[in-house]
Symmetry: C2
Subunit: 148 residues, 2 copies
């Protein structure tokens, strides 16, 4: 299990995240997307209308890794933000079996295998806490603990 | 002028965006940040608490370009989303003069010079319209129209 229960609860409560990929020339791209946690694989599955024709899908197909952030402002007075960021290897898939309820063109998904998870502002904990750690990818057992 | 008035109005109405940068090993990173449009330079200026010690700042200092998206869900019934994405060259600056009101540690900013702007769902236009175009960077007059 890569995610904490607080992170899973939060991911399940949110509608959109923002996905970052990298074009072959090194330029990042970022856009809002629907998503679901894939409990069977431990991945974040990302869908969208005509996903397979999108720039983000082509970036991943060309070898880009991905980062995905889900966050919101819990309150403005006092200022409280919370969220989860995931970085990892990514797959651009067609004909995939995605979690129920994933929006977008059926079967066309970007699947992120978490290697690094950072979360903040989740749970009832005070003071404000950041939880950042490397995790074993579901696709490979090679951990990358050299990165903090 | 790179941005349309509708885009500037929208950017001025929103509190947070999400910034994507790329680590030297090619892994993207994405996180929520405060921002202001810098009208004098035509840039997006991004601030944050202890910005100069952040991973995004170090990524940009190491040569990463940046992408930044500001978006929200205008309504769920009917489903209406809107936003602006900017991609471009980026600078990691300390001691910078930033627009008034930019949150974060004073003077420590990431400054994005737009080269590509994509917006959607802005203005009163029907049907839903995407406005995507390359723009001349404020730092260089070399346009990159080869990218659609």
């Amino acid at each position: 299990m890569s995610f904490t229960q607080a992170e899973l609860d939060y991911l399940g409560s949110q509608v959109l995240g923002r996905l970052a990929t990298v074009a072959p020339d090194g330029t990042p791209q970022v856009s809002p997307t629907g998503f679901r946690y894939n409990a069977e694989l431990g991945t974040i599955d990302i869908g969208g209308h005509n996903m397979a024709r999108s720039k983000k899908f082509r970036n991943v197909a060309a070898g880009s890794r991905a980062a995905f952030v889900v966050d919101d402002i819990e309150s403005t007075k006092p200022w409280k933000v919370r969220g989860v960021e995931v970085r990892g290897d990514a797959e651009a898939l067609t004909g995939a079996t995605a979690p129920a309820g994933l929006p977008g063109t059926p079967g066309e998904i970007i699947r992120i295998h978490p290697r690094r998870i950072v979360s903040w502002g989740l749970g009832e904990s005070e003071p404000y806490r950041v939880n950042a750690r490397s995790v074993a990818s579901s696709r490979s057992v090679k951990t990358r603990n050299r990165r903090r």
